[in-house]
Symmetry: C2
Subunit: 416 residues, 2 copies
């Protein structure tokens, strides 16, 4: 199994070396994503799976039970994605797809005979790196895609999602046909690298995820007054950046303090900043800051959001500037199916691995699948929690564990 994993990890990434200095760039609906999907199809075919590609571009590799007698129609499914961010790593997404295929191989090698279909799904275009929109494929499959809203969204070169999809040979007008019926899927499991270090820090082997923390995202604009850096005395300034600096500190410190106080953590980040005019000899006139707040506890997110608003009022008074806020995103957190969570945790334990119960700070395809089908998520460790980076790495042993965890899960879900 180790050799098979090592070889096919490289095949999926179309590489001889897993950590090239420039990482991997397989943006949504590009030739690079497509070549990776072609590799997926080849491996799946070699395992004797039947392939189907829907009108969004998702590929479903299916193992149908040998005898029709007594078989159940709905499939136990697993899967993830093969696209990456620009200069990303070769494990984010690919690990889930690979371990799903590996689990099929393992079960087939053991002579296992499933009582319901097993599917390994390769979702199209999970990352938002190209279009600013994430999880296009799983949204389409779960019927959450709004084609009218999406079709004119363009990448930095002005190519729209519609054009990109049609360039891959699909009919945009039929993209909603990718939606599947509720009775087609029994349950869904995604394996993903953790992109954090909690599993490792806890001395556990894998993570069994209870919920996905979706963000509140705010845009805060501090409007002061531009002026010449040389001629404006210090006590006559309304410097937008100086006014914004305490907010940056506040967001970080309050998230830290609230996480220490409460049962569940909350993370908050001032991740973007745009100054105007942002030139050396002019005092910043405006500073626009993007804030990302996440917790599986929606109340905690909202508590921090309110504190940010209060801090903005305080800054207005202290620095005599104007602070406006805009809520860009407010997605309630998603609770994954408890029964699926328990199965992941318990079959993993029985297979000899120590689970850590945790929540996910990042969104994944599974959050869309959960909207329609009982779904779960498991994490394998990745080195130093590093992801979306050329140095992203998961140990071969952890990929082997991933294969065993998915196999154990599928065996339980499709057994007699």
């Amino acid at each position: 199994m180790k050799t098979w994993i090592e070889e096919n990890l490289k095949n999926l990434n179309q590489t001889d070396e897993m950590n090239p200095p420039e990482g991997f760039t397989r943006l949504s609906y590009t030739a690079e994503e497509w070549e990776s999907i072609t590799q997926f199809k080849q491996i799946a075919e070699d395992l004797g799976l039947h392939l189907k590609q829907d009108e969004a571009g998702n590929v479903i590799a299916r193992w149908d039970p040998e005898t029709e007698e007594g078989q159940k129609r709905s499939a136990a499914a697993t899967g993830s994605h093969l696209d990456t961010v620009a200069n990303g790593g070769g494990y984010d997404g690919a690990a889930g797809v690979l371990c799903g295929l590996g689990a099929v191989k393992m079960l087939k090698d053991q002579g296992f005979s499933p009582q319901r279909p097993i599917e390994v799904i390769c979702f199209i275009s999970e990352e938002s790196a190209r279009f600013g929109v994430s999880t296009i494929g799983s949204k389409a499959m779960a019927g959450l895609l709004d084609p009218d809203k999406l079709k004119d969204v363009a990448d930095k070169d002005g190519v729209t999602v519609k054009e990109a999809v049609e360039f891959r040979g699909f009919n945009w007008d039929r993209i909603t046909s990718a939606e599947r019926e509720e009775e087609e899927i029994y349950s869904f499991l995604e394996l993903h690298i953790e992109q954090g270090t909690r599993v490792q820090d806890a001395g556990a082997d894998f993570g069994a995820v209870t919920a996905i923390a979706c963000p509140i995202r705010l845009n805060v604009t501090v409007t002061g007054r531009a002026g010449h850096t040389g001629t404006t005395p210090m006590d006559r300034r309304h410097d937008a950046l100086v006014s914004a600096a305490p907010l940056i500190t506040f967001v970080s410190e309050r998230a830290k303090a609230l996480s220490a106080e409460k049962d569940l953590p909350v993370v908050a980040t001032c991740s973007t900043i745009e100054l105007k005019p942002n030139v050396m000899n002019v005092i910043p006139g405006t500073a626009e800051i993007g804030i990302d707040i996440r917790s599986v506890d929606d109340n905690l997110k909202e508590e921090l959001e309110q504190e940010v608003y209060e801090k903005c009022r305080e800054i207005e008074e202290t620095f005599q500037v104007k602070v406006t806020t805009e809520k860009l995103v407010h997605n309630p957190s998603i609770t994954l199916e408890p029964k699926v969570f328990e199965t992941i945790r318990d079959t993993g334990k029985s297979a000899g691995y120590k689970p850590l119960t945790l929540e996910s700070g990042a969104g994944h395809d599974v959050m869309n699948m959960q909207a329609k089908w009982p779904s779960g998520l498991l994490f394998i460790p990745c080195r130093d929690g590093l992801s979306h980076h050329p140095d992203e790495h998961a140990e071969l042993e952890d990929l082997v564990m991933g294969v065993k965890l998915i196999a154990a899960y599928l065996e339980k879900e499709t057994g007699e």
Copy 2:
């Protein structure tokens, strides 16, 4: 005189209205700067001045004494520039050129007969808005231009200074011929809007400038670690922006405190910031901050510079990040000729205006002229200190005062 000023202010700005919402955009060596210079030539010719344009593009409008007998060869000169920043105002530069011409008109109207030549100089391309290089014209005139260093400097469209100069019909290889001999100029006076409010705050009418505060400019790069905003716990972060925030506050507060403690002020600004990757779901990995420090007291500038370095070391320890600093610019401040300063102050006082002795926080063409000739600078007030802005405004009365101040100065310098 009022009507003449009002009319020719509009002519120089090629406008019917002095505060159009988009302001004025006359970047270096563009057609817009050229049209403004054409207006300058027209007004100067109407006043009977002789015109000469050098190979950098500077225009010298000269009034030669009527009789050769007993006349002195070196000229009393005044002048400023007509280019602007993007969406700038119609007074920065233009006020000095206009008041210089107005002073000639006033002296001629009074039947004054100068004993040495009088020159009104329109310097080319003072602003750094197009090429990132300021005072090209006065550098050329004072022999401070290095053509080899300058020629390949390009604007944002890739047009080089050399190309821009040649597009205006000049021969780049002859640009250094714009340098003038020491004996050609007796003294030089620039009038400029203050771009601050110190004159007004002191209840004075005009500013007599002793020195020009040239900047120390630093580039500070804070390197933390990028990571997923959702999956990286607060206590495992090395957020470059959170680490940089106390530096922003520190720079502002220390400049304020030092200005209060010391005899001369120091101003300091974190005016630019670039985050990487600057996307909503990634913790800032690096933050690059541009700091501009100015004081006519070079020791004070250097004291603050050292404090910035110490603060950077403290930030490295506190946040476990790497902070590197680079000194981009370290220009010693320029002391203007005391005799010229005294003449400006005293002739202004005699003309019935109250002077404030102050230093300039901004650079002007006069700093290059001072390198070769005894030079001085006078400020007229501008509304709210606003400059490089469509709302930049100087009162007509203050422009009339400016004409009288220059006329009084030229009369003193060229009288018997």
